[in-house]
């Protein structure tokens, strides 16, 4: 059997080494990155279509690694994993395409991006905590250096803040899984999930370590809460997103933020679902806060990158809302199972949709930045529709996808989330509707201030998008419309996976 997933992860890692040799030749390094990522994309498209629709793990690879520590090389993907691979490949490709001007050391820059991509692939395929964690951390290091070396002014502080916050979360995760290993002798996600489902896990922890199961659950949660982020653990994000070079922000918000949501679905809910259900109400309150306050914070920002940084918090807040609404203890009725499935379908689709849309929006910001000489304040522009109608029209599509306009991708996933959450926790759903409303106001304000209104003298000859840029962005925009009109294309596989996941969990 060919180790498809290992190959997928290895391609960008090997290309990273090659790119390092490119040194100062930007075009060489960029071409290497392009080819490697295109290959990965082709492979992940193939994986997505090859996994079938029964929702179980496919392309499984197993090999002993450190048997004495319960460490096994164990890879596999289901619909969730495969969709994330696809997203990671798409967003990486977009980020590489958007990185046309690299100030210094292009070889290193593209090598780090490829390494980050490899870390993403590894995280989305690993099924044993040990090397899952390895990849989780591996993706952190290139991100840190990308911010630190190529970021905007104030980058040092932002990079450090990003690193420290995420590290705290990681340490909490590590400690919790070490405790699990002590109690059960295994670090395998599938084994731990099975033990959790039978209740064996809780009693093993109780027997070996005392009554700390809930604390372990909270530690795991913290790791992911920082990454997504859940308010109030979000404070690293706006500075990081706005100081990072914009193509790197595309990766951060498009793909890396999904690692947190993915972790919740792959690790936290299967293993600690029962414990998290005990603290469901405060978690729902925090998720609702994330949705509403994230949108509100976006509304008062003056810098476009910060606007969309907070808007990302808001959009992923819907995922958190749905995930916490799903951890409903003793939900056996058919109706609530249907709602749980709808909510999780929405979450998985929203992860993909937000990744695609946010990456596209930050790509447009890159183009804007290149043309304005670095200016990205919301008040720096106005009336750009006149000199650059195509730019405004196409960016408008991405913005409306973010707003949740029907016919585009964002609407379907947010609708599914609300449709699922409403029966499970109608108060938090009803309050979160405010988030939708404020987001609409934010997006319309951006359109109004940047695209319409009086045109300042300095932008009279603002260059419109070139043919190459149009062609480069078109696939992303087309995908938004396709997923908006025919969500069934993705939802079939997603729903099968979600059903399979739900069947294996004890909440």
């Amino acid at each position: 059997m060919t180790p498809i997933l290992t190959t997928l992860t290895a391609i960008p890692a090997l290309a990273a080494v090659l790119a390092l040799f490119a040194g100062n030749r930007t075009s060489v390094a960029r071409t290497i990155a392009f080819v490697a990522t295109l290959l990965s994309l082709a492979l992940s498209v193939w994986i997505w279509f090859a996994i079938g629709a029964d929702g179980s793990m496919k392309f499984v690879e197993r090999a002993d690694w450190v048997p004495s520590l319960g460490i096994e090389y164990h890879l596999g993907v289901d619909g969730l994993g495969a969709l994330m691979l696809l997203l990671a490949a798409i967003v990486s490709l977009m980020a590489i395409a958007a990185s046309r001007k690299v100030a210094t050391q292009p070889g290193l820059y593209f090598a780090l991006i490829l390494l980050l991509e490899s870390g993403l692939f590894g995280t989305f395929t690993a099924l044993n905590f040990f090397h899952w964690f390895l990849f989780w951390e591996l993706s952190l290091i290139p991100a840190f250096f990308l911010i630190k070396l190529w970021g905007a002014e104030g980058r040092g502080r932002a990079a450090t803040q990003f690193f420290v916050y995420t590290m705290v979360g990681s340490v909490a995760l590590l400690l919790a899984f070490l405790a699990l290993f002590l109690a059960t002798g295994s670090m395998d996600f599938e084994v731990l999930t099975r033990m959790a489902a039978t209740g064996e896990l809780a009693s093993a922890i109780q027997a070996h370590l005392g009554p700390i199961t809930l604390w372990l659950a909270l530690a795991v949660l913290l790791g992911f809460a920082v990454k997504v982020p859940l308010m109030p653990f979000h404070t690293w994000l706006p500075a990081t997103y706005s100081k990072a070079p914009t193509p790197v922000t595309m990766l951060l918000t498009g793909a890396m933020s999904k690692m947190g949501v993915y972790g919740l679905l792959r690790l936290a809910l299967p293993i600690f679902g029962h414990e998290l259900a005990q603290v469901r109400t405060p978690l729902l309150a925090l998720a609702t806060l994330t949705v509403v306050a994230g949108a509100w914070a976006a509304a008062v920002q003056k810098d476009l990158k910060r606007v969309f940084a907070y808007s990302s918090i808001n959009h992923l807040g819907y995922c958190l809302l749905a995930i916490f609404a799903v951890v409903l203890p003793s939900s056996s009725s058919a109706t609530s199972q249907l709602s749980q499935a709808a909510a999780l379908d929405g979450v998985v689709l929203q992860m993909f949709n937000h990744g695609l849309t946010a990456a596209a929006i930050f790509w447009f910001l890159t183009l804007l930045e290149e043309r304005s000489g670095g200016l990205l304040g919301i008040d720096d522009f106005g009336g750009l529709r006149k000199p650059a109608p195509v730019f405004c029209g196409l960016m408008g599509i991405a913005l409306f996808s973010s707003l949740g306009l029907p016919g585009l991708n964002g609407f379907v996933s947010e609708f599914l989330i609300f449709r699922g959450v409403f029966p499970l926790s109608w108060v938090s759903a009803a309050v979160s509707v405010l988030g939708l409303l404020i987001t609409a106001a934010v997006i319309l304000t951006v359109i109004q201030r940047v695209f319409t209104g009086p045109l300042p003298e300095q932008w009279k000859s603002f260059p419109d998008m070139t043919a190459g840029e149009r062609v480069a962005l078109a696939p992303a925009l087309v995908l938004m419309a396709v997923l908006g009109l025919a969500p069934q294309l993705a939802l079939g596989t997603i729903n099968a996976t979600v059903m399979h996941l739900l069947a294996g969990w004890r909440l």
Binding site: P406, F418, V433, L436, T445, Q448, Q488
Partner: protein, 508 residues
């Protein structure tokens, strides 16, 4: 077949967006062709269905896992409103015929947004699946925003944003109500007909009804949530004002009837106690509607901006629609639907006169300034047009408005005698503001410029497109006024087919 109206409009919008900018004239010709074929389909569908009940249009599984289907169907009410949309679309394009003359007009974009809006409106009127209805409802909001924000006039950014936010707030309320209904009915279907069969608990209907009704009524311009309407109308370019008053406000009223009242008929039941004589949501909303009728008319009476007069008159006329709906009598509901159609036509005519024919030539909408221009002599066509449209709008027999308003008033008289009196006062004030606007704009005998020796100013002659648009709308209003059975024979069976719980008529 009626589904073609939706596809034609969206396909037309998409193609127009791809047109080169320089094709200003080609864009408008193409848009007119699309709108005309939409109207042709609407008329053909209307004739073909005759007085039948609901005709199915399309039914395809869309997101089967969620029980969401692409289901379209049209009962008499839908068919009448689709017809209205077709007429408004054609007239709107005829009255935008000056867009595309200049290179900077971006005519292709203007007409693309215009047709996208029309497509969304057709979609709402034809949707049976609530998810689909909501999708089209939201799709209609965005082009409206752009039409105003880009091609509008007075405080266009403010007007556009206010309108969009009010609409989104309304649809958020609707969304909550729809999801709640979906969950309460067992989460199997979004089909309106199937959900209407489900007996939602009374306590549930008691909160879901006002939520969804208010959500939709915001778009219908119900007092006190009407403030977006006058500012939006004034800021919008003429064609957009016509659509806004002509069909978009009807979306709100249609949603009130089709979704809120059909799904939650018991939400209209008495609470079991009364406060200041108000004992049910039905009375609350009827009161709002009655206040809207008088308030809109009274404010129209003191406006100096000609477009504000028409804007507020829309609030007043939509109050009649809502009052008619809440009578819960056959005649009142018939009247309400007919009033939707009639006001759609007449508001179009009035906005066209004021915004296109007069304003494009005089570049002022201030009644004081207009009174010095002797428009009665300089622009006899506009003057007589306004006389006719104003008469029709104030409810002169022979025009569509009369038949509709009389029915609403009879219904209201049975259901809420006091509100009928209030509505009657509103209609009287309506005569007053129309008269005043007519006097000041066209027939002012205050400082006659001619007496001072200043010649009557010359204006561009009325174009063929303007004449065609006027003819289309005025003839329709006259036709329906003289032979209302043309529509009523289609509307009445559809009203009778509404849930029995709704039409017990004249409940206290």
């Amino acid at each position: 077949m009626l589904a073609l109206t939706i596809y034609l409009s969206f396909a037309g919008a998409l193609l127009l967006a791809l047109f080169p900018r320089a094709w200003g004239r080609a864009s408008r010709v193409f848009a007119l062709a699309v709108a005309l074929s939409g109207l042709a389909v609407a008329v053909a569908g209307f004739i073909e269905a005759g007085t039948q009940g609901t005709v199915s249009v399309a039914d395809v599984a869309w997101i089967p896992a969620m029980g969401i289907h692409y289901t379209l169907a049209a009962d008499g009410i839908s068919r009448v409103l689709v017809l209205l949309t077709g007429l408004a679309a054609v007239a709107g394009i005829l009255f935008s015929w000056n867009i595309g003359d200049k290179d900077g007009d971006r005519a292709n974009e203007f007409f693309a947004f215009f047709l996208a809006l029309i497509g969304g409106v057709y979609g709402v009127f034809l949707s049976v699946d609530l998810f689909l209805l909501f999708v089209f409802y939201e799709i209609a909001i965005v082009p409206k925003y752009f039409l105003i924000a880009i091609w509008g006039s007075t405080r266009r950014e403010y007007g556009a944003m206010k309108l969009a936010l009010y609409s989104f707030a309304g649809s958020a309320m609707v969304l909550i109500g729809l999801l709640a209904a979906y969950a309460a009915a067992g989460s199997h279907t979004m089909n309106l007909h199937e959900l209407a069969q489900y007996n939602f608990p009374i306590s549930f209907q008691m909160w879901a009804f006002p939520l969804v009704f208010t959500g939709f009524a915001i778009l219908a311009g119900m007092w006190p949530f009407h403030t977006w309407a006058p500012t939006g109308h004034v800021a919008a370019p003429t064609a957009a004002s016509m659509l806004l008053a002509g069909v978009v406000m009807k979306l709100g009223a249609y949603g009130c009837l089709r979704v809120a009242m059909t799904l939650f008929p018991h939400g209209l039941d008495p609470w079991g106690f009364s406060f200041l004589g108000i004992g049910s949501w039905r009375t609350v909303f009827a009161l709002f509607a009655a206040i809207g009728i008088v308030y809109g008319a009274a404010v129209a009476l003191v406006q100096n901006d000609f477009k504000f007069v028409i804007g507020y008159s829309s609030v007043s006329h939509m109050g009649l629609v809502l009052l008619g709906l809440l009578t819960l009598t056959q005649i009142g509901l018939d009247g309400a639907v007919l009033q939707m159609f009639s006001h759609g036509i007449l508001a179009g005519l009035l906005f066209a006169t004021v915004g296109r024919i007069v304003y494009e030539r005089t570049h002022t909408r201030d009644l004081g300034a207009l009174s010095k221009l002797q428009l009665g002599k300089a622009m006899p066509f506009a003057a007589w047009l306004f006389v006719i449209a104003g008469m029709a709008s104030m409810g002169l027999p022979g025009f569509s408005g009369f038949v509709a308003e009389v029915q609403v008033l009879i219904g209201a008289w049975q259901a809420f005698p006091w509100f009928a009196v209030v509505a009657g006062i509103g209609i009287v004030v309506g005569v007053a503001y129309t008269w005043r606007a007519m006097q000041r704009a066209f027939f002012s005998d205050a400082p006659m410029a001619a007496a001072d020796g200043v010649p009557v100013p010359e204006y561009e002659p009325v174009t063929w497109a303007e004449k065609a648009g006027v003819l289309l709308l005025a003839a329709t209003s006259l036709l329906i006024g003289l032979y209302p059975r043309l529509l009523l024979d289609v509307i009445s069976p559809a009203v009778q087919a509404l849930p029995h719980a709704l039409l017990t008529g004249g409940r206290p």
